[in-house]
């Protein structure tokens, strides 16, 4: 069936076309030309503490859900939370499968199983979640990102897996 394959979806071009059709001003995508910053991996995964930051609007039952309007707060979700207590809210992606199985946007079960098997040294005490699709890059840069970086250091996290939607 390889002849039926298509290249990856051109989300940027399709979003621009959609905004134009809707009569909106052109969406300004984040671009970062040049060489990105780089931290060396000090220890292999099996001797590291792994954290996760996911932007799919995930929260635990009992936590306040995210708003859908430039919400720059985050939630800490203990990594021993029951999978059945996890929820997702968002405006920008189809939540049907996330509501059936949160692991499609928040891979808590595979990560627990890999940690149990020793492939990961240990999981951080909490994973962090926030909203994606925040229009204000300034607020992400000045509020959300520094707060998350601080929490990762407070929790002595060695490596972070980033899971957008």
């Amino acid at each position: 069936m390889s002849d039926h394959r298509q290249p990856p979806v051109d989300y940027i071009d399709r979003t621009l076309a959609q905004y134009e059709a809707l009569g909106y001003p052109a969406y300004s995508w984040a671009t970062n030309p040049g060489t990105p910053p780089w931290a060396d991996v000090a220890e292999p995964l099996e001797r590291s503490r792994l954290g996760v930051i996911a932007t799919g609007g995930i929260y635990r039952v009992g936590q306040t859900a995210f708003t859908h309007h430039d919400d720059t707060t985050f939630r800490a979700i203990a990594t021993d939370t029951a999978t059945s207590d996890l929820r997702a809210t968002h405006f920008a992606y189809d939540l049907t499968d996330a509501h059936r199985d949160i692991n499609v946007v928040f891979p808590i079960d595979p990560l627990r199983s890999l940690a149990d098997d020793g492939a990961i040294g240990e999981l951080a005490p909490s994973f962090f979640t926030c909203m994606g699709g925040i229009y204000s890059q300034r607020r992400v840069r000045d509020e959300l990102a520094p707060a998350l970086v601080q929490r990762c250091h407070d929790d002595h996290i060695d490596l972070v897996l980033l899971v957008p939607v």
């Binding site: 069936m1 039926h4 990856p8 979806v9 989300y11 940027i12 959609q18 059709a21 809707l22 009569g23 984040a30 671009t31 970062n32 060489t35 990105p36 910053p37 780089w38 931290a39 292999p44 995964l45 930051i53 799919g56 609007g57 929260y59 039952v61 009992g62 936590q63 306040t64 859900a65 708003t67 859908h68 309007h69 430039d70 939630r75 800490a76 929820r87 809210t89 405006f91 189809d94 939540l95 996330a98 199985d101 692991n103 499609v104 946007v105 891979p107 079960d109 595979p110 492939a119 994606g132 992400v140 998350l148 970086v149 490596l159 972070v160 897996l161 980033l162 899971v163 957008p164 939607v165």
Partner: protein, 143 residues
């Protein structure tokens, strides 16, 4: 997510960014990224397929060892379906001309600035938690 990746790396913590949107991630240009050619909303797998989910996460985590330069990106080479016809309908412009009001053809949900719970029970649970001694919001360690 690109801003978060960059600030983490600048602070000394290595990151791997998973993505189903190759062009957006190439523009954002994170230090290490792993592309999975799945529809949005499935960054880490398919519902109720734990074997695939584990394979996808193993593939992503391998980037911590395999990536050898800033801007490195790998492709998981896992397909969503037997063919790629799901891509045909992704974000195609809506039919124009039905109205002249900007945004009225927008099928996305409105951007409400109050908490948006998955269910009414979740709203009650959050309300119950808030204010009691277990409340992490009140303890200042959570929202």
């Amino acid at each position: 997510m690109g801003l978060i990746a960059r600030q983490l790396e600048e602070s000394g913590i290595p990151t791997v960014t998973m993505t189903c949107a190759r062009d957006i991630t190439e523009a954002v240009n994170p230090p290490r990224s792993v592309f999975l050619d799945f529809p949005l909303g499935h960054t880490t797998g398919r519902a109720h397929d734990p074997v695939l989910g584990r394979r996808i996460i193993e593939g992503a985590l391998a980037a911590f060892a395999d990536a050898d330069h800033p801007g490195w990106m790998s492709d998981q080479s896992i397909h969503w379906a037997d063919d790629d016809s799901w891509k045909d309908s992704v974000m195609r412009p809506v039919a124009s001309g039905t109205t002249d009001i900007p945004g009225s053809d927008d099928e996305r949900s409105p951007r409400r600035d109050t908490p948006q719970y998955q269910s009414i029970d979740d709203a009650s649970a959050a309300e119950k938690t808030h204010g009691d001694e277990q409340c992490l919001v009140c303890k200042g360690v959570d929202y």
